[in-house]
Amino acid sequence: MANLLWLQGGACSGNTMSFLNAEEPSACDLVTDFGINILWHPSLGMELGNDLQQILKDCVSGKIKLDIFVFEGTVVNAPDGTGTWNRFAGRPMKEWVKELSAAADFVVAIGDCATWGGIPATAPNPTDSVGLQFLKKNIGGALGKTFKAKSGLPVINIPGCPAHPDWVTQILVAVATGRAGDLTLDEYQRPKTFFQSFTQTGCTRNMHFAYKVSTTQFGQRNGCLFYDLGCRGPMTHSPCNRILWNRQSSKTRAGMPCLGCTEPEFPFHDLMPGTVFKTQTVMGVPRELPLGVDKSSYIKYTGAAKAATPKWAEEDMFVV
């Protein structure tokens, strides 16, 4: 039996909604099949007031063994570093986060806000929000650069806006069943099993990417979303086209450009007007190229790819 506690800081509850829709395994499977005991969760916990406070205190003191501490949302520091804009169970949430993280065997940050600050930490960051161990790309966050949970692992970051439900439940199962040693984390402490490949990996528009045929308007099924509509699929680490959403689709499959929500810089360009759903260019060339591709190679490749484009790639292949 592994005790799990889930708290929310500066959050929209999107990751909770996602988690509750998990299928493989489901949130119920965690309890019935994998021995996870959910001590408390904002949408599932029955305790209120003093009863909840006592659970938290017992976790901090060690009276209740805290195996997994899951945090969703940012750690709010405003105003003036006090964190009192986000009070919970009688005190600033940031204080609970610090003490519970120190008491836990594993600390798991779910979603962009808990991992790197996400949208709340976008400039000018009025709530002085940070992620558990990062603020955007900078390591540190609420717990500090050197933080390690009792297991010896740093915060396990499962980013996304929201995180895919199965990324959450599969990592929780791995941790709860003693297989945390199988996890390898990347430089941003994301499990590589999910975040080594790209959003583009498995994208149904890859043929159009290869032949440089662009989608020019939303809703077009033909064409690649990278060239004009700002898709970040070639630069974003996520399995969105390998582990499908609702088991059947993804943003890019549905014609929606990837926003890069599993990367620390999300939301990119601080959401400045004209930067969302629009490929940023310099003299006609994308400002950001597919990861690992330099500008000179990109230009040469474009010429070759366009010259090789077959006729079918320019036509609508999705006919009734």
Binding site: S214, T216, D228, G274, Q280, K306, T309
Partner: protein
């Protein structure tokens, strides 16, 4: 539109350019924000006003340095067509306009 009418329109445009139609080929938009200004201007032009679209887009019947329609991401090589919705006109692969992008 049929292939025949595409060809007729392409010939008509070629004649206009060969005849010395002055288009706004400069300045070339340095970034997508300047690009969008031109696109918005194009969006207000009547669909059938081919000449005005050519002028605003900056159509020219030759490459500029190494840039030509053939490599532009909006260009459909087989149809010889600019697929940018605000232009939506035929073009030869060796032509160019200031909305060129790769």
């Amino acid at each position: 539109m049929s292939e025949e009418s595409d060809k007729e329109l392409l010939d008509r445009i070629a004649k206009m350019l060969d005849g010395g139609l002055k288009t706004i080929a400069e300045p070339f938009p340095e970034d997508n924000f300047q690009f969008d200004v031109i696109v918005r201007e194009l969006a207000h032009i009547e669909k059938d006003d081919v000449e005005k679209k050519l002028v605003v887009a900056g159509y020219v019947n030759h490459p500029i340095e190494e840039m030509r329609c053939m490599e532009c991401m909006y260009y459909l090589n087989h149809r010889k067509w600019c697929n940018l919705p605000e232009i939506d006109l035929p073009a030869e692969p060796d032509w160019w306009c200031r909305l060129w992008r790769i």
